[in-house]
């Protein structure tokens, strides 16, 4: 299949970027990133600088890959990271626009690579359970209802790619933050610190320049792990409870 790619090229954060057009010959079994490999190989053969993009596991779990494809973070397929998107979902002759995540809290580093360290700092502000190595009791000492553990898992499945932020018209990191708050707050081991955790994480989120949530639901729609919007509601409830000084969850 012959494709026209319009790819965002930007030398560095200080320079201005622009879309550049390329012709690529791909086949339908390739992943989207392998198609970009083909483009880069041809650029290198022409002694040009290849397109910089982030990628690592190519199995949909590390959260490295991040491209807005035809206007949607991670492209057209629901619940699919860029690396797991295959070219069979495109047609011969298609024009595909590839851009970086765009958000105030994710400055562009080069081409499609952005700085997502703001997400790390949200976790550092409280996205953990304060337990030192060696302090744990027997793992079966606390029984956890199967459904409750599953609920925590559903939130914990977040891969930290930032698609939720890129999808949000406000550039909000509510879904990312809520997923961690709900994961830890749902587990009995993490319940103890929930109030301080949710306040610290929300404050950090604001400090990093992420926008407010206006319940558009775009984050959930483009989340490659289909993290549910209800997490945000749960976080809001926890945040409210913490702000009112109550230690109890409603």
């Amino acid at each position: 299949m012959k494709l026209t790619l319009k790819v965002w090229r930007q030398q560095n954060n200080a320079s201005k970027g622009a879309l550049e057009s390329y012709q690529v010959e791909a086949n339908e079994h390739m992943s989207f990133l392998e198609m970009l490999d083909v483009l880069n190989q041809s650029l290198v053969e022409e002694k040009k600088v290849p397109v910089a993009f982030e990628h690592d596991c190519r199995e949909g779990i590390c959260g490295s890959c991040n491209m807005v494809i035809n206007g949607r973070p991670h492209g057209p397929n629901q619940g699919t990271t860029t690396c797991q998107l295959h070219m069979r979902y495109f047609k011969d002759g298609d024009t595909i626009v590839v851009e970086p995540w765009r958000a105030k809290a994710f400055p562009v580093i080069k081409d499609l690579v952005v700085d997502r360290s703001s997400l790390d700092r949200i976790i550092q502000s409280g996205g953990y359970i304060s337990v030192n190595t060696g302090q744990a009791q027997d793992a079966n000492a606390i029984a956890i209802e199967k459904d409750r553990a599953a609920h925590a898992f559903d939130a914990a499945a977040c891969i930290g790619c930032g698609a939720c932020v890129a999808a949000c018209p406000n550039g909000s990191a509510m879904l990312f933050t809520a997923a961690k708050v709900v994961h830890l707050g749902t587990m009995p081991q993490g319940e103890v610190e929930e109030s301080t955790r949710v306040q610290a994480m929300v404050n950090q989120m604001d400090e990093e320049g992420f926008g407010m949530c206006s319940n558009t639901g775009a984050c959930e729609a483009d989340c490659p792990k289909e993290i549910s919007l209800t997490n945000i509601a749960e976080m809001n409830r926890a945040y409210l409870a913490a702000s009112l000084g109550s230690q109890k969850k409603s």
């Binding site: 992943s31 392998e34 490999d37 290198v44 040009k48 290849p50 190519r58 199995e59 925590a152 898992f153």
Partner: protein, 664 residues
Amino acid sequence: MKLESKVPEGPLADKWTKYRSTMNLVAPNNKRRIDVIVVGTGLAGASAAATLGELGYNVKAFTFHDSPRRAHSIAAQGGINAAKNYQNDGDSVYRLFYDTIKGGDYRSREANVHRLAEVSRNIIDQCAAQGVPFAREYGGLLANRSFGGVQVSRTFYARGQTGQQLLLGAYQALSRQISLGNVEMYNRHEMLDLVVVDGKARGIIARNLLTGKLERFAAHSVVLATGGYGNVFYLSTNAMGCNVTAAWKAVKKGALMANPCYTQIHPTCIPVSGDYQSKLTLMSESLRNDGRVWVPKKKEDAQAIQQGKKKGIDIPEQERDYYLERRYPAFGNLVPRDVASRAAKIACDEGKGVSPTGLAVFLDFASAIERYGKSAAHSAGIHNPDKAMITKLGEEVVAEKYGNLFEMYEKITGENPYKHPMKIYPAVHYTMGGLWVDYNLETNVPGLFALGEANFSDHGANRLGASALMQGLADGYFVLPYTIGQFLSNEIRTPKISTDLPEFAAAEKSTQDNLTKLIDIKGNQSVESFHRRLGKIVWEYCGMSRSAEGLKKGRQLIRDLRKEFWSDVFVPGTANEFNPELEKAMRVADFMELGEVMMLDALDREESCGGHFREEHKSPEGEAARNDEDYTYVAAWEWDEQDPKVHKEELIFENVELKTRSYK
């Protein structure tokens, strides 16, 4: 060079407890004055950095990723072993120890493996306390499943994303230490040299990948937790960025690379589909709990499938060869990885492969779907269910167990694995070899430690499923934080190490020269093309089956390729900027040297054991033939441009009798 394992005296089961209680300690006030560098933030690195931070050391942690959470530990699917015996099926520390020693084909160190089995129990406790959402039974207690090579259920898991959840646990513990100021985190920094001062590891040269600038970092001790070298094969289940560079730079500064030829070929991966392919995707071993592996009995049927004239479901039951069940009735489809991989290769070599390339076998869930479907119908009180009903119910059960894996398979191949048997083929997955370490996990360079997949110590010649996560976390949470004290307790009078020492300047200069050299070649071939060619050579001559003749040829081919690389590679851009092509070029250059040592190691080892199969050494039935008389040793290689040299550590078995490994 005499390699001292430093295994403590005493009975096997008491060694670790006694040693731990009597080893030297560093007092809290001294810990504050001691700096430790940890390179790599996967399971081993993140857990070590977090724990060292908790203990009060000044830790600097490094990753080449944009965040510590991206390390490839995150992709581990199946689970983590622990000798908890929660299932009351006869498991114990000794049994986990024994299974691991046997699974490793008697090529690992007894005392290290026993310690691993002991601390396995603490790991599960620690992870549960961190909030890792492990799979649970209806009663709320932890669930287990089985993995290859064992007959108990000791594997803890979190759906098909166990590695992710464990890594996030360690990452969160690390994040907490970062926020407390005990760990300084350096993202997007790649270690490009080890600095040795007066014979001791005292720092690293790291390249800031954003600016391209080389930076110096000094410490009293350096810990490498930088993963395995499977990407030397180009195609593997490793992430694209996995590399040997940090470990290899240590080798070039005198550390020894142990058993590099021990590489694990995982039997259940999605087969290669074209030349453009960049990586291979694993399908968790847990699928072999329910999937049955087969090829057609008749070559004509296989050819028809290869040409697309027939499909797997067109082959009648009596014309299928469930070769694992036939050859290994005791373990069936759950034989260890090396055995399953070799059997798949043999079937395909006989011309019975089932993909256009002839390099694939079937992994079939039809029997499981029928079995589960009947059982579900029975539970639902449906009498005389028809076939469609059974299939529907059965598929629901299979979806609950393996849904995400089936989905991933369909995304990649475009074929529905509920309706058609999966096609799988072995692929490089893990490397048992790594930096030589003693019982303290210290390399032969004093003050340099290696953890997780980066060391060689626990898996012998073959790793059992769900043991990599166990080892990474054992080393990081429960072993190194103690054993590093043996070294650091003698360093309490050592003042802060200065990065102005001439050793740092020299290391920085040679690294800079290397980078400049690569950029200045300005040849005509891409880094990627060299990596692909290297991978083909290593797979061809040092892959699933090796011979003396092939290994000699392979070594020569790599040397030729290396020469070509250093005269004709093209690296665009400059060294003073964000330049992923340059990063890759450095890594491929190191893989080329490592590849040569792998060939030499495989050549030296005149026996077949675990993942190392020499065509000259097999039993009449085609099974691996070990030679305990002459090869019960660890081969630790010292790098030399012309002629790498081997040093040997004899393996002493005092508790386990060396037997021919049988899964029949």
